[in-house]
Amino acid sequence: MKLFRWLGLTALALTVGGAAQAETVKIGVVLPFSGANADLGHQIDKAFDLYIKLHAKDIAPHKVEIVKRDEGPPTGAQAKTVATELITNDKVQILTGFVFSPSAIAMAPVLTQAKTPLIIANAGTAWITNLSPYIARLSFSMWHPAYPMGAFAFDKIGCKTAALAYTDFPPGKDSTDAFKAGFEKAGGKVGLSIPLGSPVQVPDFTPFFQRIKDAKPDCMYVFIPSGAHATGVMKAYGDLGMRAAGVKLIGPMDLIPDNKLQDMGDAAIGTIVMGHYSVDLDNAANKAFLKEWHAAYGKDSYPDFMSAAGWDTMHAIFDTIKKLDGKVSDGAKVIEAMKGWTTNGPRGQVTIDADTRDIIQDQHAMEVVRKADGKLGVKILGTTKAVKDECKAQKIGRCGT
């Protein structure tokens, strides 16, 4: 009897003392681990793993349990099935990951129904965050880099005319639309607009680029899904000698993902992109991030802009767990807690817009150069602070709903 009394007293003391109940937060990670775009999934997954390994103690006494599932091909259906089951069967409290926009779009009604928050770590179609109040995005919208690039290209790079080339799927059109809006507003003229085939197969880029070269624009704005496409673009651009012919290559950061940049060779030098991350960004958080990354994955492995967003995503989730003291079963509270969340991450200062649940972040204009140590890197040409998603600000198309 004495023992029981003692136990009861201890329990009472714990509750009265306000010591937190140790909760286990279940997080469902949905990323493409297999298939043609597996490398994108792995770039983010590595950042997730690294963050969890280093910061698990930050949320003590709470713990996180990660359940990983394959997002599969960008059909929406596969991701929807596994993510729904993560909610119904594995009872996860927070979903994250999602590289492909269709996956997030398909999932949106389920999130609203289940009241489960989804913290997007990549999917970039602008209007996704409008589809459900339970979606927050830590990565970017296509408009983040593309819209400011329009003005920058006209004013600073000296593009009076530009040709557009994009992979023929919605993010591609989204990105080129955004660039066009910014570029024409600044006074530039867009000539050719060329779709580059499907997002799955890397096409032979040469005939497309040859056509643009013949049209002799000042600049060529290219959007492709970061991955094998990026290297293909750079090779074709270099082989055709387009830079010598006076056609500058510009685009969003997808053109020069850091983990493929070293393979691109001299052809990449002089390319100017707009984006939120490069390994060469000069800030303390990025230096620490890089150090940990190299320590964990080797010196030849580089994080890229997706990894940086993945790192911040997990950071935001951990901070929210801390803020809510582990009680994250109410999805509305989780999203509420995330609104206005801000940090100094590898990308610099990022904030979640309380109105749109989308990210606010700096955009850097970056030029590829050969660094002193012989490796390829980027030089920052200019920075636009705290860029919001212009698509939603201007209420363009679906962004307005």
Binding site: S34, P73, P74, G76, A77, N89, P102, A106, A108
Partner: protein, 431 residues
């Protein structure tokens, strides 16, 4: 034999007799066997045992339905196609577009609309394409499906392109059953549709029309020779199969409340083909087993290892081909038959004659084993060395050990198999 009666029968009496016998034969085959209840019982039991997994469950049912439609043309009429996704996609987009653009959200009438549209597509394409066979037909069907996909992408203002049509809304089934988060309504709805379509297909298969299709599969020339309208029959069954694939596609859209252009992909056609062959073609229930086994295994393996699950699927396909030539259902049938053989197999203790043939076989097995051992050893050691292939150079002893172990193991298995085969197979097995 019925055939003999027809040719030799002198008058109407003989012919009527033959017809009667043929009808009897068909009816006998059409009769339900108790085992046929099994898949349905399992499907219903699954609803109660795994109430939280019905989202996945309804996807399995949709794929089963799709595989059945393929079985109708592949298994019964012998039409090999790599473009069946075209009809799946047409059905999927019919209900999708109807809901998003026309506000037609009633699900069951949507299924009929999808069936009609897909049947139309099947009829038109079948009319042109079914004159061809083999690789030509494969490539033509494949190209047709991809051309539809490209057209859809070209007009992505209507179709939504690769981002698809978000937020599709459908009325509750029969106006009563709301779609729930757990997918339970979806599951029962899909199961009901599957049951209706299945018994329709079963009727077709065991009808004289179905027999004519089997005839075409087995020997086209002969069917031409006896005056069977081959092309017409092929187009008919192709149209029916397309309609069913359209229903499956419509169910796919309705259960997901979403559709993208990837439903037209080569992957969709190839996957359903693999599922069907895996289960066994020309048996109807092969579609059940194939789709269920494939998807459940994929689900399990991709939980275990989201990155490497394809390896397991590959092994499953390999093992099926090498040891179960007629699909999983074929194995089950063989096992059923095995019981009746047992009494007839004589176990004669044989003496193994170690001729050159055996030694050569063991040698080849050892060589393969060495290669396998080398590969496994490499896989086991790849993380430890900095250069990918440097294990081969830096640790020759370890390389040797792995190789020798692999060779010894596989050679031992081979010898064991030889002894076993000599012991048991000396008697005659009725094959």
């Amino acid at each position: 034999m019925a055939g003999n009666d027809i040719s030799s029968g002198p008058g109407n009496a003989g012919r009527a007799q033959a017809r009667h016998e043929a009808a009897e034969f068909l009816l006998r085959r059409h009769r339900f066997r108790p085992a046929e209840a099994l898949p349905w019982l399992i499907a219903i039991a699954a609803f109660f045992v795994f109430p939280d997994r019905m989202t996945f469950g309804s996807q399995v049912l949709v794929m089963i339905l799709f595989a059945i439609s393929l079985d109708l043309i592949l298994g019964y009429a012998g039409i090999v196609t790599l473009g069946h996704a075209a009809f799946f996609g047409v059905g999927a987009y019919t209900v999708g577009l109807a809901s998003a653009r026309l506000g037609w959200t009633e699900p069951i009438s949507g299924l009929f609309a999808a069936a009609i549209m897909a049947a139309l597509a099947g009829f038109i394409s079948g009319w042109f394409l079914l004159r061809y066979r083999g690789l030509t037909l494969l490539m033509l069907t494949l190209a047709t499906a991809i051309m539809i996909l490209e057209t859809g992408n070209f007009r992505s203002d209507i179709t939504g392109g690769y981002d698809g049509m978000p937020g599709l809304v459908f009325q509750p089934v029969l106006g009563m059953f709301e779609y729930d988060l757990y997918g339970r309504t979806n599951y029962l709805y899909a199961l009901a549709v599957l049951a209706v379509v299945f018994f329709f297909v079963r009727r077709i298969v065991y009808s004289p029309f179905g027999q004519a299709l089997t005839g075409i599969r087995e020997n086209v020339r002969r069917m031409h020779a006896i005056g069977s309208p081959v092309h017409r029959r092929l187009v008919t069954v192709y149209t029916i199969a397309a309609a069913i694939a359209g229903v499956a596609g419509a169910l796919f859209t309705q259960t997901n409340a979403y559709v993208t252009l990837t439903v037209f992909d080569f992957d969709t056609s190839a996957k359903v083909l693999v599922m069907l062959i895996l289960g066994g073609t020309g048996r109807l229930y092969g579609a059940f087993i194939g789709a269920a086994v494939y998807l459940i295994l994929e689900d399990h393996l991709s939980k275990l290892s989201p990155t490497f699950w394809q390896f397991g699927i590959g092994i499953l396909l390999l093992v099926t081909v090498l040891f179960a030539r007629r699909g999983i259902l074929g194995v089950i049938e063989d096992l059923g038959r095995f019981r009746s053989w047992k009494g007839r197999i004589r176990m004669v203790p044989g003496r193994i004659v170690w001729s050159n043939v055996q030694w050569k076989g063991i040698g080849m097995a050892a060589f393969d084993g060495a290669l396998i051992g080398l590969a496994v050893g490499f896989a086991a050691n790849v993380g430890r060395t900095n250069l990918l292939w440097s294990w081969f150079v830096t640790e020759p002893l370890s390389v040797l050990a792995w190789t020798a172990a692999g060779a010894a193991l596989v050679a031992a298995i081979n010898i064991g198999y030889l002894v076993y085969a000599e012991r048991s197979a000396t008697g005659s097995t009725p094959r």
